[in-house]
Subunit: 291 residues, 2 copies
């Protein structure tokens, strides 16, 4: 399967962001990709750097402007698209939602981010109600997509549940970056941890994985920090956790990846973890702490 | 905390293996270590390369020869020791068991390998009944040890359950190696996957980790394969998944590691995964497949 990913920086102008994205989709589609993955909240700046009520104006419904434009593009280009929106589900209920557009322009499904972070510069708990979709992969014409979002990356449970429910591939739209006050060693450690934890999901579940992150510096409107330097490094790995494509940490970049969708089944015979899981002994995973 | 690990090859002579191990424990203890970790089944060759009834003669009880010798050594040297035995629990019930000896010579606890592999060259399901200890860490004078064994490495559930139950550190005695018929790229891929999955447990659970593997070539008595080239590479990483010590792939080697046992709590404040786990949505982890 030929997959395209679009890594870019964003501006305050949401029309400009959308228009850039649609142009890149056209370009990738002309190169024959069947699936295109976009980064988290690709329509706007990463507004969660501060808690400001006016940012809720950015939110859209599942059939709003962004979803409609992506649906039209999916149909026009005959590709499946994984997008990401700030979803307004109803008054006072907002989510960080991944949407999957089928190549016929219909909404194949959506996933509402289940794990919501909150730390200085990433005030997501203010904006996003934790998802209630569960870890349910989305069926499409090109395979069953285990779409998760950013902070979900750090929870092995997310990837495992997607795999158990039949995902053929794991997909992470994400928005993560460096605090410029950290030194180079600490920055590299964070980036390396981020790559490692995602590769581990691929290894533990024998599934290919695609992760798409934004790049560029975005200021902190509150001026309490120096803002976030989104670290790019969008990448893909095969069903054995081997990195097969990796983007830069500072450039707009499209990548095209050839994913072997038959490798997962083969790998599950070579290293048969799913045969040996001790499901009789995992009950306590649902506890906060085993006291 | 100062930790020592002993990576070595084994011979058919079990007395020689034990005597080597006891000598190395003495040496490490003189260098001031508080905890010593041994490799999986350090008392014998890796007999699981074939299914042969006579190998059951190697099995010992929890207070057998190996456990008693390690207990005496732990007391003499005032160190905690993590060992590994082929346990005879009763007629027809055998386990692959990690034992933890307290520095006063008592048995602090044991862990019976929960996930049992079985593939050509690693016929463990013939020898080892799957453990029924659950994923219960073992309390000692120097901390609560999340001891797991080899194949458990590939299951994120193992490490998570140990962490939830209060483990201060993850410890893996292990025995894994290369098939000489694989090419260099494949060998490196396997080694890299093995390191990556373990580092991911450290990252996901904000815990330091120690993994001790054997080295050396052991023949396949059935001559169906070229035997196993155990790949060594015993290593330790800190509570952020950063490798702090790494051994060679072909030498007897002791390593001494300084582990900062305060880092875990700090790291859980910086990247607070345990705050955000969606325990309301993990029920299906106990299913074989979500059909």
């Amino acid at each position: 399967m030929k997959v395209g990913l679009i890594q870019h920086s964003n501006s305050e102008d949401t029309n400009e962001n959308l228009s850039y994205t649609l142009d890149q989709i056209d370009t990738l589609a002309q190169q024959g990709v069947q699936l295109i993955v976009l980064q988290e909240l690709h329509g706007s700046l990463y507004f969660c750097q501060t808690e400001s009520q006016h940012h809720f104006d950015l939110a859209e419904s599942l059939d709003g402007n962004t979803a409609s434009a992506l649906a039209a593009s999916a149909k026009k280009n005959n590709v499946v698209i994984v997008g990401s929106i700030f979803e307004k589900r109803g008054n006072g209920i907002y989510h960080n939602t991944a949407i999957v557009l089928e190549s016929d322009g219909t909404l194949a499904g959506h996933y509402r981010k289940m794990h919501i972070p909150d730390d200085p510069g990433y005030y997501e708990k203010y904006y996003f109600t934790p998802g209630d979709t569960g870890f349910t992969p989305i069926k499409t014409s090109i395979g069953t997509l285990g779409v998760l979002v950013c902070w979900d990356q750090w929870f092995p449970e997310s990837a495992r549940l997607m795999a158990l429910a039949g995902a053929d591939i794991l997909i992470f739209p994400t928005a993560i970056g460096w605090d410029l006050r950290d030194n180079e060693e600490e920055k590299q450690r964070q980036l390396d941890a981020w790559i490692t934890i995602q590769r581990s999901h691929s290894i533990a579940n024998n599934l290919p994985l695609i992760s798409v992150n934004r790049v560029g510096h975005e200021n902190d409107p509150s001026k309490q920090t120096d803002g976030i330097e989104f670290w790019g490094n969008s990448f893909a790995c095969d069903a054995r956790g081997k990195v097969i494509t990796s983007c830069s940490n500072n450039n707009h970049e499209n990548a095209i990846i050839e994913i072997d969708m038959t490798e997962s089944e083969q790998q599950r015979l070579v290293w048969p973890y799913f045969r040996d899981r001790r499901i009789d002994a995992y009950n306590n995973i649902t506890k906060r702490s085993i006291d």
